[in-house]
């Protein structure tokens, strides 16, 4: 008979039981979505701007916040009956399988948030379509609906798991944070300790490219960060991660619900077996964080103090919460001691680096590609010193890394926070220091970032030269030579002077200019590269891409500033003819650099 009970009917009844949630959801949607969309659409001059449409369907932070917050509230309020004995008794005495009850509450909670969102989005779409001149609104509508639905469901599923694991509403809110932020915090703590104590190590990325904004491990184990990642970039990877989280968190929540004993209602954590492991993980992480913070004072004593206090304070709080009795804060003291010992071992293992992680330079055969950020090669003011290399250039990259490693001075003593970026030489002046950052993208789905600094150019001369002479490097450094899409553009040309003043003129970029520039780059040798010195040695062409239709997105990725070095004779000749600027061919004399006069760059 029970199987004949309509799921849909029970679903409708459950939604009906939560009228205040439905009302709040509708009101928030109205003000965070429909009202701004209507304002934007009716504002003067906004009719053709479909970036605005994109904003409302996809990147609207109000909507994302509403969905994220709604996920937490819908999950905790939906399963709130598990936090009260008489409610639990009522629902569990009904002739319905727990799986079915779970699914009814789960789906109704999701619909309470999603249906108002869909309604609001559809209404906003109508506003957009009325003003539309193309099909773009529909595309962004579908993208926004898909991304936000997946992201919402992932966060919602994790919060349902949190609600089912706990027997108290307030604790379930805390548990939502634990479920969503445990892994990111763990990764951050581990990374921060390594970055503090290791000279070259800057971070790692699992399964993802170092260019991504966050490691996939964080996105994978935190539905909150997974949602953020999906909003930043809708791709198949983000979709797969969201689907994975929805399935895994929902399955775990259902399993936890089935295993949940009704009599444990009211307890902080209802599954006895999860209590201590959960506490241990939190205590160990907190202990490591305490050690990290107090190691900043600069002594072993304070670091140990940080580890101990970082462990004991949360351990006591958690035990007090578990028992709802502060007198039982030391109930599991042996476990606390074990946590402290484990935290010390982990901390020591990361800080003293017994595995020599700090000195590791991968052989080229292990790498798929590498990204090099090196100010000497290109000049810090161009904003484009990061180049991606593969193939034979990888040998040169690893050679460069080895030279960098061998010459990097270990400035950062253990338990010391005297680390600072050295941007001055011993005389307090800018010198030809290098900040050599390399991202190693391994053949395995893993990448890591290394930093070798401070270095003198002479210390990595061999590697730099080898790298510069590799095929394809010049194209990476000077993208203008492989792209002719800027022909017949008006560009600004500037000269930079020693006192940071600039002289600017406009020039029309033609094929003649591009030919001259390309020739100069091809003829250029490693020795022609300028070294960073007190006087900038480069001129630059600045091309404003913002006026190019449909290139707004590309403008974030394509360099729009191109250097002109002193060896670029053909380019300089062309500019002399076409502009009012009088580019001097020669490098200024040393004594002139000390004067506060206007100095040409060549």
């Amino acid at each position: 008979m029970t199987s004949e009970k309509s799921f849909f009917k029970l679903l409708m009844l459950n939604i009906r039981n939560r009228p205040s949630a439905v009302a709040i959801s509708l009101i928030i949607q109205f003000f965070s979505f429909i009202v701004p969309a209507a304002f934007a659409a009716t504002a003067p001059g906004s009719g053709g701007d479909w970036a605005l449409t994109k904003y409302f369907f996809y990147l609207n932070p109000g909507v994302s916040f509403y969905l994220g917050f709604g996920a937490v509230v819908a999950a905790v309020t939906g399963f709130h009956f598990l936090h009260s004995r008489n409610k639990t008794d009522f629902y569990h005495s009904l002739p319905i399988k727990r799986e079915k009850l779970f699914l009814v509450v789960y789906v109704s909670g999701a619909l309470i948030v999603l249906i108002p969102y869909y309604l609001a989005a559809t209404f906003a779409l109508l506003i957009a379509v009325i003003k539309a001149t193309s099909a773009e609104p529909a595309t962004y509508f579908l993208m926004g609906i898909s991304a936000n639905t997946l992201g919402f469901l992932a966060v919602y599923s994790s919060c349902v798991l949190a609600a089912v694991l706990t027997g108290n509403a307030i604790i379930s809110f805390i548990m939502c944070g634990v479920v969503n932020f445990m892994v990111p915090v763990a990764i951050a703590v581990f990374e921060l300790i390594k970055i503090r104590f290791l000279s070259t190590y800057k971070g790692f990325y699992v399964l993802a490219d170092a260019n991504d904004t966050m490691p996939i491990s964080i996105r994978l184990f935190s539905s909150f960060f997974g949602y953020l990642g999906l909003l930043a970039k809708i791709d198949i990877f983000g979709v797969v991660v969201a689907l994975f989280q929805i399935v895994v968190f929902t399955a775990l929540a259902l399993f936890a619900y089935k295993k949940r004993k009704s009599e444990n209602t009211g307890k902080a954590v209802v599954h006895e077996r999860t209590k201590q492991p959960l506490k241990y993980v939190i205590v160990i992480l907190s202990s490591l964080l305490g050690g990290l913070i107090f190691s900043g004072v600069g002594s072993v004593f304070w670091t140990l103090f940080g580890i101990l206090s970082g462990a004991m304070v949360p351990a006591c709080i958690i035990e007090s919460i578990y028992h709802f009795d502060a007198k039982k804060m030391l109930e599991n003291f042996k476990g606390d001691i074990i946590c402290i010992v484990v935290a010390m071992l982990i901390f020591g293992g990361l800080a003293f680096d017994p595995l020599k992680v700090d000195e590791f330079v991968p052989p080229a055969s292990m790498l798929k590609s590498a990204r090099v950020d090196i100010n000497s090669l290109y000049g810090i003011h161009t904003g484009r010193s990061r180049i991606t290399l593969s193939g034979k250039a990888l040998n040169a990259v690893t050679e460069l890394a080895r030279e960098g490693r061998d010459n990097t001075k270990k400035k950062y003593e253990l338990f010391s926070v005297t680390r600072k970026n050295i941007v001055e030489n011993s005389d307090g002046e800018y010198g030809d220091f290098l900040y050599l950052d390399i991202d190693f993208n391994y053949i395995l789905p893993y990448s890591e970032s290394r930093e070798y600094s401070p270095l003198y150019t002479s210390q990595v001369e061999k590697g730099l030269k080898e790298l510069f002479e590799c095929e394809g490097v010049k194209e990476e450094l000077f993208p203008l030579i492989k792209d002719d899409s800027y022909e017949d553009m008006v560009a600004s040309v500037s000269q930079t002077f020693v006192n940071n003043t600039r002289s600017v003129d406009n020039v029309r970029i033609t094929s003649e200019f591009l030919q001259a520039y390309k020739k100069d780059v091809e003829n250029m040798t490693f020795e022609d590269l300028p070294r960073i010195s007190k006087v900038d040695e480069v001129g630059e062409i600045h091309i404003d891409l913002s006026s190019i239709p449909n290139l707004r997105e590309r403008s974030y990725n394509i360099a729009n500033r191109f250097p002109i070095y002193s060896s670029f004779k053909n380019t300089r000749e062309y500019l002399k003819r076409k502009t009012s600027l009088d580019f001097q061919p020669e490098r200024p004399q040393a004594e002139e650099t000390d004067k506060d006069n206007l100095l040409f760059k060549f």
Partner: protein
């Protein structure tokens, strides 16, 4: 029939139900009595499938009740602190309950709501405690389940309503074989309505017997025995449960049939003796007293 076999339920370190075995037969009203914390509510929650026994088994009509919706459709549980969904009216709760209990009698529900004088479209949360209790009984009766489990349901009902509820149960027992299981402290109430009683004490069941048998097998005797009579002899010959002396007057309760008890007292050649019928409350106090729950230590 509800069969409980060696059921054990622990709440952390507390043994709430300890090796309880009891049969609840059809055609009777089963009363569950016990001291505070004896495990009455826990046993009821186990009987309706809210809690799962740690050990032992609980079966209803031959099937395990836990996570068994087809069996639970035959059981309606009325909690001592019944939950009503926020903003629900009696009309709403009827629809909700009817969606789970396929034999729910809506016409009878409407009739009873009117008869009991309950407002049909007022929010239940604004009802008094007694009105909520009445509503829960009406829901339970109209759900048309075979078993109705009531936890302290009569508390909060006025005498008239108590009588009305009793007659409702009696009517349904007669018409459709309803089996009410009632847990209560109010032994006088149970005495009036129950045919069979289970006495729980510290999680374990002391006995489960027909009320009539129980009354016939335990007697309270007031007597004056001859000068110098040795009370040890009394204890030796009779199964004395409690004994109290006030001057020459001896009051005791003893197990055994009326004839047997009278015969043995007569053999003591008493100056005077009288058999007084025991109330359920006195049986309860006597039995629990034997197990160390001495009411005299509590009532000072």
């Amino acid at each position: 029939m509800i069969e409980v076999k060696n059921a054990v339920k622990n709440f952390d370190d507390i043994v709430a139900v300890n090796d309880v075995s009891v049969d609840i037969r059809e055609g009777s009203i089963f009363g569950l009595v016990g001291t505070n914390g004896a495990g009455k509510s826990t046993l009821l929650r186990m009987l309706c499938g809210i809690l799962k026994a740690d050990k032992g088994s609980i079966s209803v009509d031959g099937e395990d009740v836990f996570e068994n919706p087809s069996i639970k459709e035959n059981i309606y549980y009325i909690s001592d602190d019944q939950y009503y969904i926020k903003n629900y009216t009696p009309k709403d709760i009827m629809k909700y309950t009817a969606s789970f209990y396929p034999n729910f009698d809506k016409e009878r529900y409407n009739y009873l709501i009117n008869t009991f004088g309950l407002p049909y479209i007022r929010k239940i949360n604004n009802f008094s405690k007694g009105m909520k209790k009445q509503l829960s009984v009406i829901l339970g009766v109209c759900a048309n389940t075979k078993y109705i489990l009531c936890d302290e349901t009569f508390d909060g009902l006025d005498p008239v309503m108590r009588q009305a509820v009793k007659s409702l149960f009696a009517n349904d027992m007669q018409k459709r074989g309803l089996v009410p299981v009632i847990a209560s402290h109010n032994l006088r109430e149970l005495e009036d309505i129950c045919d069979r009683v289970g006495l729980l004490y510290k999680g374990g069941i002391l006995f489960a017997r027909d009320l009539d048998d129980m009354k016939l097998n335990m007697h309270k005797v007031q007597c004056v025995l001859p000068e110098g009579f040795d009370l040890a002899k009394l204890r030796e010959l009779l199964d004395v449960v409690t004994l109290e002396t006030r001057g020459k007057l001896i009051t005791f309760t003893a197990r055994g049939s009326r004839e047997e008890t009278e015969q043995k007292i007569a053999s003591f050649e008493p100056v005077f003796y009288e058999l007084i019928p025991l109330t359920l409350e006195e049986i309860f106090i006597s039995e629990t007293g034997v197990r160390g729950y001495d009411i005299g230590k509590i009532i000072l």
